[in-house]
């Protein structure tokens, strides 16, 4: 797997899209910090962007890479390499290069503006961890969609639909059910519903760490009582990890059985 990962990663790192992605984050980081010079305010704005954009990029890039590297995959399939290693290697190549763009693109400006000396360093680290998880999760989901759809257009369609569902529609349904069942106690429901969607979970995790969590009032206090504890934090990490591992297991299962 290491070798496949190496070549995928190498291939991607040299591609135009990685540079565009990296320079987007660089520009974003610098502009944000140039505009208000406040690291913790920067973290809030970044969160808004990261929880929407990272999944979108992960989904699109993942599907795109899968389809574009069809030849590479075929070449590899005839080589003495384990099948699952071919796909996992490619997956980690994509997810790795995307994560690297994210970490470098945001890390460099924030470092230059004195991140290590500020108290935003933990919030920022959490933001990056969440960003990396979202990349891993949505790239894995994208690979799953792509491996099941040989038709490129269909695959892209499903991938965008998936993103749309997770980023927007899910919250719409969530909101509707909260309003419909407002007479019932909703704390547990909303906590579970939040934990089930990696985007919502990431948003909540970061929000609760920031000052802005006071706006969440009583609901926020309930959430904080769970997510704010060590246990809650590691539970959330576990959920994110499951969101990463389960699609990967499915990817391996599908890859082992697919004809090329």
């Amino acid at each position: 797997m290491g070798k496949v990962l190496k070549y995928s990663f190498y291939d991607l790192v040299r591609s135009r899209w990685s540079y565009i992605y990296l320079s987007f984050y660089l520009a974003l980081g610098f502009v944000l910090l140039f505009l208000n010079n406040d690291l913790s305010k920067g973290v809030i704005t970044l969160m808004n962007i990261i929880i929407v954009l990272v999944p979108l990029i992960g989904t699109i890039f993942g599907t795109m890479y899968y389809y574009n590297s069809k030849e590479f995959t075929e070449l590899l399939l005839a080589q003495p390499i384990k099948r699952s290693h071919i796909f996992l290697g490619q997956y980690f190549g994509v997810a790795g290069s995307l994560s690297m763009s994210l970490v470098l693109g945001l890390g460099i400006p924030f470092m230059m503006y004195g991140l290590l000396r500020s108290n935003a360093v933990f919030d920022f680290t959490l933001l990056l961890v969440v960003g990396i998880f979202l990349t891993l999760i949505f790239t894995a989901l994208a690979f799953n969609i792509a491996i099941n759809n040989d038709n490129k257009i269909k695959g892209f369609g499903y991938a965008v639909l998936l993103w749309l569902f997770m980023a927007v529609i899910y919250d719409g349904i969530f909101l509707l059910s909260l309003i419909l069942f407002e007479e019932y106690p909703l704390d547990t429901f909303s906590m579970v519903a939040t934990a089930l969607n990696p985007i919502d979970l990431s948003r909540t995790l970061i929000l609760l760490k920031l000052d802005i969590s006071a706006l969440l009032g009583y609901t926020g206090a309930v959430f904080k009582r769970f997510f704010g504890t060590q246990f809650g934090f590691w539970m959330s990490m576990l959920v994110l990890l499951l969101w990463t591992i389960l699609p990967l297991l499915r990817l391996r299962y599908t890859a082992d059985r697919k004809d090329f």
């Binding site: 808004n48 980023a167 927007v168 919250d171 909303s190 948003r203």
Partner: protein, 412 residues
């Protein structure tokens, strides 16, 4: 002739009255070593001068018109045994003492300095630490609480007291005090015609300033920072609130100013910065909000329950997460000529007034008011989208809740 002689007698009395007032000096090495002894020795209108030193005394009763004055802040240590100074006479002045270790009780409100049914008192330049209640005015009017420093270390509401408390006391001037770390910094109950000026009230557990059933009071130029909540005005009428600063009252249930069941108040030229809720309004009517600054608050104005005939004019609403939140469609409150930093309209005729009205209520804040749990969707893409669509064509938010003449530039 009779009249002239009586005037003369008065003048004489005034002249000699001043002249005959004596000073009783107390110090650890003096003949009079305790304050209690000093007070009992002193005649009315004498000055009891307490020199530097530590005096372990409590239940000191000042029962005649006296000036109890400290030199270089002598320490009066109540050793947590109960109340420390009790004033039961008119015309008493307490000045320059350092009072510590007030007793804590769950049944009696022990205070560092208590004034009971007395008038014309002055309490000034006093420093209070390790206290339960600080300065407690009980049915005492026409006095002054000036330039005191009250530093509490309250941890829980149930076993802490208020910094300055007024109960059935009228016409009192509370100014230039610094109160921190108590339950309520300054608390007024059934106290009318009180003037509260230039005080600083910070880091108090509950409220910086708290009005209950108190009418015709004025508070100006005070700073309320980092309290559980800045100021709570409840069940009171005709309160004037001018030029105060409400800052960083931040937390899940914190706010800068809470108005509950109050009528006919004027709120002008105040600055609300970085509060979770700048003003929370419940059942309050005929209130004018004019020329206030709302900067970087979670909610600038949060209205719960029916509020009628309030007017909001000339205020600056800048960079608040929500400008106005409202939980019903009913509204006869007026928003006019405010500056809204979220306003994205235009001004074609260049008269400084936006040509399209501004609707300060976001759909999300409307929903979150109805179903508080939905707030967990704060800053989600979905909410941004529906907020935008609501802004373009309002369906749910009150149609007439709008500022028809939004200012293009902020009021300076």
């Amino acid at each position: 002739m009779v009249r002239v002689s009586s005037i003369l007698a008065c003048l004489l009395f005034l002249f000699f009255g001043e002249a005959i007032a004596e000073t009783v000096t107390i110090c650890p090495s003096c003949p009079i070593k305790s304050i209690k002894e000093g007070i009992s020795t002193a005649q009315a209108y004498d000055t009891v001068l307490v020199k530097k030193g530590t005096y372990y005394e409590h239940d000191i009763v000042v029962d005649k018109p006296l000036t109890l004055k400290g030199e270089n802040y002598p320490i009066i240590d109540g050793q947590k045994k109960g109340e420390i100074i009790k004033i039961t006479s008119d015309h008493v002045t307490i000045d320059g003492l350092f009072v510590i270790n007030v007793g804590v009780s769950y049944t009696t409100d022990f205070a560092a300095i208590r004034v009971i049914k007395s008038e014309h008192f002055t309490i000034q330049n006093v420093v209070l630490e390790k206290l339960f209640f600080g300065i407690y005015l009980e049915k005492s009017s026409h006095g002054k609480v000036y330039h005191n420093k009250i530093i509490g270390d309250a941890k829980d509401e149930y076993n802490s007291g208020n910094g300055i408390q007024l109960w059935y006391s009228h016409y009192v001037e509370v100014s230039h005090n610094h109160v921190q770390g108590t339950r309520d910094g300054i608390y007024l109950e059934f106290s009318d015609n009180i003037t509260i000026t230039k005080n600083t009230s910070t880091k108090n557990l509950r409220y910086g300033l708290h009005f209950m059933f108190s009418d015709n009071d004025v508070y100006t130029e005070n700073v309320f920072e980092g309290n559980g909540a800045g100021v709570a005005v409840m069940f009171s009428r005709n309160i004037d609130m001018f030029n105060n600063t409400f800052k960083k009252n931040w937390g899940p249930s914190a706010y800068g100013l809470l108005l509950k069941e109050i009528n006919d108040a004027k709120i002008r030229n105040n600055t609300f910065t970085e509060n979770t809720v700048a003003i929370s309004i419940e059942g309050s009517n005929r209130i004018t909000y004019k020329d206030n600054d709302f900067i970087k608050n979670g909610w600038a104005i949060r209205v719960i329950g029916a509020c009628y005939t309030n007017s909001f004019t000339g205020n600056n609403f800048m960079h608040n997460s929500f400008d106005v939140s409202y939980n019903s469609k009913l509204n006869d409150n007026e928003f006019r000529s405010n500056y809204w930093s979220n306003y994205s309209g235009y001004d074609l005729d260049k008269d400084g007034i936006g040509d399209v009205p501004y609707r300060p209520v976001k759909l999300f804040s409307y929903i979150a008011n109805r179903t508080p749990e939905t707030i967990i969707l704060l800053r989600s893409l979905f909410m941004d989208i529906i907020d935008f669509s609501e802004k373009v064509s309002p369906v749910f938010t009150p149609d007439n809740l709008k500022d028809a003449q939004p200012l293009m530039k902020k009021r300076l």
